[in-house]
């Protein structure tokens, strides 16, 4: 067991010496693209949710409707399977929400009384607005379906594009590692031949190369995260100015910890895969003659 650990430590040290910064940089820059895109998308998502990516329907109730009747209506809406979330917005809350929007507080103050009705906000992927308008107690229905669907579709396209980009660059990472390891194996041809002659197993000979692929991938992933962090910091300086002019504190956020970790592990895994493929293919070709 101790001998085994010692061998792994030696292989790891050998691999550490052979990491090429240039290769790690290539991997890092390539991975920064999808990782950065993902960070942007995730940052926009909370804002987008406020704008309802899931088509939303607002049901404005008749102004005289009693709360008990409204509650009965709410029950009915919640029981409908086509409807996702149901949120009751009392007229007081609606007023408060409206007052918090810049510039509107004075307008509302000038009205003297609350002009807003109670309302339900429901989400549904189906086109049921007309049907909802016929429910008792509902005076008016507003569906933002078209606009929301467009936004949702655009987000889906962006997401799919990112996934494709990530897959492509991931394949690139495997290829880069494959080639790095191939060159390493070729330059160490004599050493490998001698190792085989004196009884080294393929696993022993391949180990430093597996570590090299893994470490190079992780190093590339770390570099990618660094590039993303730097790019977001630069962007946020300008975004901050823009957002403040809208009275918003919006900033692009760095990848959540779990996703950042996934970038590191994923890059390492792909590097290891590239090394594995390369070692399988090239190590066997070197046999003592």
């Amino acid at each position: 067991m101790r001998a085994w650990l010692r061998q792994h430590r030696q292989a790891l040290l050998l691999a550490l010496k052979k990491i090429s910064l240039l290769n790690a940089a290539v991997i890092g820059i390539a991975l920064a693209l999808p990782a950065g895109g993902y960070a942007l998308l995730e940052s926009l998502r909370p804002a987008g949710a406020r704008l309802a990516l899931e088509p939303r329907i607002s049901l404005f109730l008749e102004p005289q409707l009693r709360r008990t009747d409204a509650e009965a209506l709410g029950k009915r809406l919640r029981a409908d399977r086509r409807i996702g979330a149901v949120r009751f917005v009392p007229r007081e809350e609606a007023l408060k929400e409206m007052s918090s929007v810049q510039g509107l507080a004075e307008v509302i103050g000038a009205l003297g009384r609350n002009p807003l009705p109670d309302a339900f906000v429901v989400t549904s992927k189906e086109n049921i607005a007309d049907e909802l308008a016929k429910l008792p107690g509902v005076s008016h229905v507003q569906a933002d379906a078209v606009w929301a669907r467009r936004l949702a579709a655009a987000a889906a396209v962006f997401e799919l594009g990112l996934a494709l980009l990530a897959a492509l660059l991931g394949a690139g990472l495997v290829a880069v590692t494959f080639n790095t390891i191939r060159l390493q194996i070729l330059t160490q041809r004599d050493e490998i031949e001698v190792s085989k002659l004196i009884g080294a197993t393929d696993a022993f000979i391949g180990r430093p190369f597996y570590y090299l692929g893994l470490l190079q991938g992780v190093a590339g992933g770390a570099l990618a995260l660094g590039v993303v962090a730097l790019a977001l910091a630069l962007l946020n300086r300008e975004v901050g100015v823009l957002a403040e002019s809208y009275g918003s504190a919006f900033r692009f956020a760095f990848l959540p910890a779990a996703e950042a970790l996934a970038v590191l592990l994923g890059a390492g895994l792909l590097g290891w895969l590239g090394a594995q493929l390369s070692v399988n293919r090239h190590l066997r070709a070197i046999e003592p003659r």
Partner: protein, 216 residues
């Protein structure tokens, strides 16, 4: 220790390097394998550590049928055989000491024990003073002694040497052979291929003569 029975080796293309070779090497024996260049000496030696596989017949090493060994089992066979080549096959990107340490990298010896063994092996070939040198700085005879130290550092029971004295002057060659005789004296089975019959005659040991791929 080593036993060949009716071994033949044909290379792709039909060239027949060995034909109906049978002999046995007893444990603790030292034997020479003689013959001209091209007689099949190297091919015969390569069958022992499974660098080549026989086309027919069987090669037994320590009772193991080497020709039928699975690929994954070959390293473990080779750990028990010390191999010495005409061209030494040393690594010139590291010191003499590191070259000798190579076979210990995948043995289970703790580092201290490994270092002790490497020094002991270098001591036996009289190169303890040159351990920090690069092999390129050594003479041909010294390089061959490094190769021997590397071959014996894991204390194999069998030593196989292919023309270990071919490129050496008479004095260095005799020194190399003396080292093999030393190892044989402590119980290691040794098989040495050489075309130098004069040298062989001096030791009065058994000599297998290969001629045209057959034992003559």
């Amino acid at each position: 220790m080593v036993s060949f029975s009716a071994v033949a080796k044909r290379y792709p293309g039909g060239q027949e390097a060995l034909r109906d070779v049978s002999f046995a090497l007893e444990p603790g024996e030292l034997a020479f394998l003689t013959g001209r260049s091209g007689a099949g000496k190297s091919t015969l030696l390569k069958l022992i550590p499974a660098i080549e596989r026989p086309s027919a017949g069987s090669v037994l090493v320590n009772g193991q049928n080497v020709g039928a060994l699975k690929r994954a089992a070959i390293p473990y066979l080779r750990r028990n055989i010390g191999l010495v080549f005409q061209d030494q096959k040393l690594l010139y990107d590291r010191s003499v000491y590191d070259n000798v340490m190579l076979p210990l990298a995948f043995s289970a010896h703790p580092p201290k024990e490994a270092a002790r063994r490497a020094r002991a092996a270098l001591d036996k070939v009289n190169l303890l003073g040159r351990e920090k040198a690069n092999p390129i700085q050594l003479s041909g005879g010294e390089q061959q002694r490094v190769a021997i130290a590397r071959a014996v550092v894991n204390r194999p029971t069998l030593l196989v040497a292919d023309e270990p004295t071919a490129n050496l002057d008479a004095e260095s060659a005799a020194r190399i052979l003396d080292i093999f005789v030393e190892f044989n004296r402590v119980g290691v089975t040794v098989l040495i291929a050489t075309h130098d019959l004069q040298l062989v005659a001096r030791y009065g040991k058994r000599a297998l003569r290969l001629e045209g791929g057959r034992i003559a």
